[in-house]
């Protein structure tokens, strides 16, 4: 994953609250493999209507905001469904940062997993940014993750982000490799846990037990249960 440090880019206003992930990418598009690109699905029904034939009146499709990499919206952005397609749609459209007063939790971690910055500002700053972007279409915003500052015209404000998510973005960490580096801690956890919670492994259902041939391991545990992760 590419680290996220600073971004200076055209910002696009989306003066709506409660943009849930169903709106960010309607469910019917989720069947598509990622390789085919999700950019065209971003806010599809809001932009083009359900039949896809409408003319978008949104800033996203306004020439003056073309090339925007930052989106500014109202509260509760990305609530609802856990679909990561919502983040794919933003990224494939070219968005690297969303600024809003609050994010859905799952959406925010999906963003970070994909290198997109979810920046939280207070309601007053969000309204000021929206007003500025509407007054000066095509204006750029500077976002600095290390210091958590936003600069927009002659206005500056801070944003908040979970320290855990921030570190991940700044380093562009690949979680799987980090996790694998804790293999030893995992084995000792498993050992302790097997003694503390022997009931936690799924018991084999009765029907499958009866099917087990004589000589099969009497342990109800799946053979791979003992394998190290």
């Amino acid at each position: 994953m590419t680290p996220f440090t600073t971004l200076q880019a055209i910002a696009c206003p989306l003066p709506l609250a409660n943009i849930d992930t169903d709106q960010l990418v309607p469910a019917r598009f989720l069947k598509q493999p990622r390789a085919e690109g999700y950019g065209g699905f971003l806010l599809h029904d809001l932009r083009f209507g359900a039949d896809g034939k409408g003319a978008s009146a949104m800033a996203l499709d306004d020439k003056r905001y073309q090339g925007a990499s930052i989106l500014v919206a109202r509260r509760n952005f990305g609530g609802g469904s856990s679909r990561e397609g919502a983040v794919y749609a933003l990224l494939d459209f070219g968005i690297r940062c969303v600024i809003t007063p609050s994010f859905g939790d799952i959406f925010a971690s999906n963003c970070v997993m994909n290198g997109l910055l979810p920046a939280c500002v207070n309601e007053i700053d969000a309204e000021a940014l929206l007003a500025h972007l509407q007054e000066f279409p095509g204006a750029a915003i500077l976002v600095d993750l290390e210091t958590q500052w936003i600069v927009c015209g002659n206005k500056t404000c801070t944003f908040s982000i979970d320290s855990f998510l921030k570190t991940k973005l700044l380093n562009g960490w690949d979680d799987v490799d980090v996790t694998k580096s804790f293999a030893k801690a995992m084995s000792s956890f498993l050992l302790k846990d097997a003694a503390a919670r022997p009931w936690a492994r799924p018991a084999l259902p009765a029907a499958r037990r009866q099917q087990a041939r004589p000589g099969d391991s009497p342990s109800p545990d799946h053979p791979s249960a003992a394998r190290e992760t």
Binding site: L16, A17, N18, D20, D22, Q23, P26, A27, L30, K31, P33, R34, D45, G49, A50, D51, R75, N76, G80, S81, S82, R83, E84, V87, S102, F103, G104, D105, I106, F107, S109, N110, M113, E123, S163, F164, T167, D175, V176, V178, T179, F182, A185, F189, D193, A196, R197, P198, W199, A200, P202, A203, L204, P205, A207, D221, S224, A225, R227, T229
Partner: protein
């Protein structure tokens, strides 16, 4: 020295920490990883990295989101949907993961069918690439929804990096009135907290009204945690939990079950444990609720009226209300009970359990619906049970369709859609714009309320139709 008192949230968290890093995030071990058709992005990521699946024995795949609810005896007609259902089977088989497919008698919505199998237990961590995974918290599990990249991570490591959520206790004290359900409790809480009110929190539901709920009711309550922004919600396990679990196929057996109950008893929050936030609700104040707008926080008692944006001071909030009313095609100030509906849907992981079907049938018995409707049981097991109890006949005689189990009209990706512009009384969990289909208008409510709307042809207080019946 006395140990620091801990909440159930702390206890579940502590028992799963593999390693804690500076900065507050911990690597949590995952006891159950549930997969569905939408997991294909994650399998794709695993394949790209050339990795293997860490613990197929703790992973369970089940077909629900895309499955057709009609004509299940024939091959799936829509090739795109057939491909999604087949892809899950292929991915599961390729990696040695147990798979519950379309023909399996245990099939159903992941959050209904998996608990039925005794796979959701107190004291476990449970994840799934689905935001309503919070449902399994009803058993006293730490259960939360994750995104596709996190699913891939869990597949490859059987663990996940998480920051510990803040702890929020919601207590509902006192008896609830007859005719109000877990759905009404949940919608009341969501309306008060806001759709983002519990972001960053795990919720413990407590209080006598919660204790009085059946497992089905607790699942409905925990299911809706995400609609208040919480990634998970849970209820401490008790005798109701143990009785429900005992004898289920994957649950511990014999002495191991007794041992487990001993451990589970210790999960409850210590009496003097501190929460980051607390709120108390009087159970006696809760009445049947319906939503009028486009987020679950737009919820009001059935005897209320549609809000008027002109009377709201905050301009952003007034704009949001105005936008919702316009989408829903409603007039400010109109009585909620006067809103006509075009169809009803009874089902989903929120309200597709046997109790939900019984509650709907209780209203419908001997009556005819004025509008068409679909009943899709939460699992094939629920379906068989409903048929044994004769509920299917009640639905059919009322003029509703009784179909097979799946996510169905909750999200519409299997093709069960609310037509554009139509208004649906629905027992699901999201009234988002376009959720049940492009331009569809959704009103969320309990199964009895949806059944009552079917009979009346408009939103109405189910308690009127339940008089003398319960």
């Amino acid at each position: 020295m006395r140990e620091t008192p801990r909440t159930i949230i702390d206890k579940l968290w502590d028992s799963h920490v593999v390693v804690a890093r500076e900065g507050g995030e911990s690597l949590l071990f995952i006891d159950r990883h549930l997969l569905h058709e939408g997991s294909f992005h994650a399998f794709e990521q695993v394949r790209k990295r050339g990795r293997s699946i860490a613990r197929p024995d703790l992973s369970f795949a089940i077909a629900d989101h895309y499955v057709p609810t009609r004509g299940r005896d024939k091959p799936i007609a829509n090739p795109d949907i057939a491909r999604m259902v087949e892809l899950l089977a292929q991915n599961a088989n390729a990696h040695g993961i147990s798979h519950i497919g379309l023909e399996d008698p245990r099939q159903g919505i992941v959050h209904v069918a998996v608990p039925e199998q005794g796979l959701s237990l107190p004291g476990l961590t449970i994840v799934c690439g689905d935001s309503h995974t919070s449902t399994h918290g009803a058993f006293g599990a730490f259960a939360f929804g994750i995104g596709a990249s996190e699913v891939a991570h869990v597949l490859m490591t059987q663990a996940i990096w998480q920051k510990k959520p803040k702890r929020l206790r919601l207590r509902v004290e006192g008896a609830t009135l007859p005719g109000t359900t877990a759905k009404d409790i949940a919608l009341t809480l969501i309306a008060r907290l806001g759709a983002d009110g519990a972001q960053g929190h795990a919720i413990e539901y407590a209080g006598s009204a919660v204790r009085a709920l059946t497992m089905e009711g607790r699942m409905t309550l925990c299911n809706l945690s995400i609609e208040a922004g919480a990634r998970n919600g849970l209820v401490a396990p008790d005798a109701t939990t143990y009785a429900w679990l005992k004898g289920r196929p994957f649950a511990p057996k014999g002495e191991m079950f007794e041992r487990a109950v001993d451990d589970w008893e210790k999960l409850a929050s210590d009496a003097d444990a501190e929460f980051d936030r607390e709120a108390v609700l009087d159970g006696g104040e809760i009445v049947p609720i319906v939503t009028w707008g486009t987020t679950p926080e737009h919820a009001l008692p059935i005897d209320a009226t549609v809000p008027d944006p002109a009377k709201v001071d905050d301009p952003a909030q007034a704009a949001a209300i105005g936008d919702a009313i316009a989408y829903m095609g409603l007039a400010p100030g109109a009585k909620l009970s006067s809103i006509p509906v075009d169809r009803v849907f009874i089902g989903s992981c929120t309200n597709g359990r046997i109790e939900d079907l019984r509650a709907a049938a209780c209203v419908l018995a001997g009556r005819r619906a004025k509008v068409p409707g679909l009943v899709s049981p939460g699992s094939s097991t629920v379906k068989r049970q409903a048929e044994e109890e004769g509920l299917d006949r009640i639905f059919l005689e009322a003029g509703l369709e009784f179909a097979d189990s799946g996510c169905s009209m909750c999200v519409g990706i299997n093709g069960d859609l609310v037509p554009p512009g139509e208004r649906c009384a629905s027992t699901t969990n999201r009234n988002f714009k376009g959720r049940q289909g492009p331009r569809a208008r959704t009103h969320l409510m309990s199964p009895a309320m949806a059944a009552a709307a079917a009979i009346a042809g408009h939103l109405t207080d189910a308690r009127e139709l339940l008089k003398g019946r319960t």
